[in-house]
Amino acid sequence: MDLSAINWAVLVASLMVAATPILLAALGELVVEKAGVLNLGVEGMMILGAICGFAVAVETGSPLVGFFGAAAGGALLALVFAVLTQVLLSNQVATGLALTLFGLGISALLGQGYVGIKPPKTEKLDFGPLSDLPVVGTILFNHDYMIYFSLALVAAVWWFLRYSRGGLILRAVGENHEAAHALGYKVVVIRFAAIAFGGACAGLGGAYLSLVRVPQWTEGMTAGAGWIALAIVVFASWRAFGVLLGAYLFGGVTVLQLNLQAAGVAVPVEYLSMSPYLITILVLVIMSADRSRAALGAPASLGRSFHASN
């Protein structure tokens, strides 16, 4: 087996790029689910973010503005979900699935004029001499700003949920919305905010695909990434750093298996192809099985509708 052909530092750098769209989408969904809402429309919000970000970046010439556009697009679609499920009390599972179908359709419509166009390049941040360091420079100091943003967001979400007053209220709403309501918290308003945040994150994840990772607009380009993100939230037992681990593991094994194939490693390709799903699930299941508190991760009110008159 010839592994010398693989440059491991470059591989780690690539896996961070491959994992970021899923990481962003899963982080958003984590916050949404912690607020007690199950939004299965991640795929739809991602793809809408992908085209919104792409279109805005192309029209303005600035990828940064594009990312804002993507967040706005994803959040807007999420708010449709919020109105339907929180105000009109529709079924969250059905509405989420509809959101995915709607997102795929409307993004194809919006994207008509953007097929075959190249987006403005998202520049890598320049850390001067740090970027030139062998190995460390390649892995840590040679990325675009979205990678650092996504990592900072992991820490921010972790801190928010664990230590901030706002996070405590959000979790209370997700655990027992009647009790939270009785305490005077505005359950629906808080859930609206969480859903919008989730949509914005999914939109950013989608835009990272269309602006950095691929980079181009193609219909249906998320190709199931939103569903992976949903699964990772569950397997990570609703913990921010679990989500980071899950996303990097999934992205990492995906990139690694392609590299192993390219290097001609004598492992049957079928096993390599299924490895990202298998390894990610295995590791996260083992991790969450270790803890007796794991079951507590699932918000008790997840997926249940709330109405103040109940």
Partner: protein, 358 residues
């Protein structure tokens, strides 16, 4: 079983009814697509064929299509639905629709089915495919000349004969002009997943490949090659000319329009019969896209000469001596491969490394 008979009977009735009203009702032609029509590759070209049918026959035809139909059980549902809606002719445009097409066709004996790239036929099921491997031979020549690292990356989709033929054809012709050339093959196990295709291209490039051939449908590998710099690619299924002159230096273009028009005409005239069509560069079903200026003039001339020799039938890309991967003789000196062997090709030729996934 009873319900199935009922459905079939109802469909037969509907078909009989529409035949009765012939001359008033437009012929309904359906298309089942594996990707979105905006993929810029495989499905995009099939949809261009559909539009050509509409342009040719005007209001005498009505076309319907469904995109993103997964290969497998769900495809049967999509086809059944299309047949129940009164389609007279249905094109199923991916290899994985083979068994579903046969199953659904058995339930709707009066609906004509056309399955692309497969090998199973029935009284109301035709098969059609293009000799993409002829185009791969031209790509192989260019790739062999253009590579500086002598490492050519190949993004393969599924281990089916069509894909394996392409790999073998490209390798044989690259090796002919450059004995040091090596192929790295990555199996993506998807026809369409831009992110995965981009990752596969990136992995190959990071390991030193400076030519990327793809047998997947999106333009993502082109974008990955472009951002990497000194890497060349070829358009797959469609011209992908938005990436010319670099990285895309040429392409294989599928032109389905004449075939779709002819088969629709045959149904209208009542002359449709189950056939097996396999056309290549000569018949115009496979086109070679403009070879860009990034390719030196002599290489371009050599590639075009090969293209023309294949077109007029004076050269067959699989002409011996060719050995199989294990060293056993496949084709003796001057012998050419027969269509039967090509249609079921499940082995690499000598010199390729690695195993074909089973």
């Amino acid at each position: 079983m009873k319900r199935r008979t009922l459905i079939a009977a109802a469909a037969a009735l509907a078909m009989g009814g529409s035949a009765f009203a012939a001359g008033h009702e437009p012929l309904k032609v359906g298309f089942i697509y594996v990707g979105p029509i905006g993929d810029g590759g495989w499905t995009y070209e099939h949809d261009k064929g559909r539009l050509a049918v509409e342009a040719e026959f005007g209001d005498k035809v009505e076309t319907v299509y469904q995109e993103n139909v997964p290969e497998g059980a769900d495809a049967e549902r999509a086809m059944t639905q299309m047949a129940l809606q009164g389609a007279d002719l249905i094109f199923t445009t991916s290899f994985g629709y083979m068994d579903p097409t046969i199953n659904v066709a058995a339930k709707f004996p009066d609906v004509k089915f056309e399955h692309a790239t497969g090998y199973k036929r029935a009284d109301n099921v035709s098969t059609y495919s293009a000799r993409f491997y002829e185009g791969r031979a031209v790509q192989g020549i260019i790739a062999g000349h253009m590579t500086k690292t002598n490492k050519i990356g190949y993004i393969a989709s599924f281990p089916i004969p069509e894909v394996i033929r392409g790999i073998n054809s490209a390798y044989i012709h690259a090796k002919k002009v450059n004995p040091d050339v090596e192929f790295s093959i990555v199996w993506a196990f998807t026809w369409f997943d831009p992110a995965k295709e981009a990752d596969a291209a990136t992995a190959l490039i990071e390991q030193g490949a400076d030519v990327i051939l793809q047998h997947t449908d999106s333009t993502a590998p082109q974008a990955a090659a472009e951002s990497a710099g000194n890497v060349i690619t070829f358009g797959q299924a469609s011209d992908m000319s938005e990436y010319a002159p670099m990285p895309r230096v040429s392409s294989i273009i599928d032109d389905w329009a004449p075939y779709y028009i002819a088969r629709t005409k045959a149904v209208m005239d009542g002359t449709w019969a189950s056939v097996d069509t396999w056309d290549g560069i000569g018949a115009g079903m496979v086109g070679i896209g403009e070879i860009s200026d990034a390719v030196p003039a002599d290489v371009k001339a050599e590639a075009e000469a090969l293209r023309d020799a294949i077109a007029d039938g004076s050269y067959q890309p699989f002409t011996g001596p060719i050995n199989k991967q294990d060293g056993s003789v496949w084709l003796a000196e001057g012998e050419t491969a027969d269509d039967g062997t090509l249609a079921g090709m499940d082995f690499y030729v000598e010199g390729l490394t690695g195993d074909i996934p089973q």
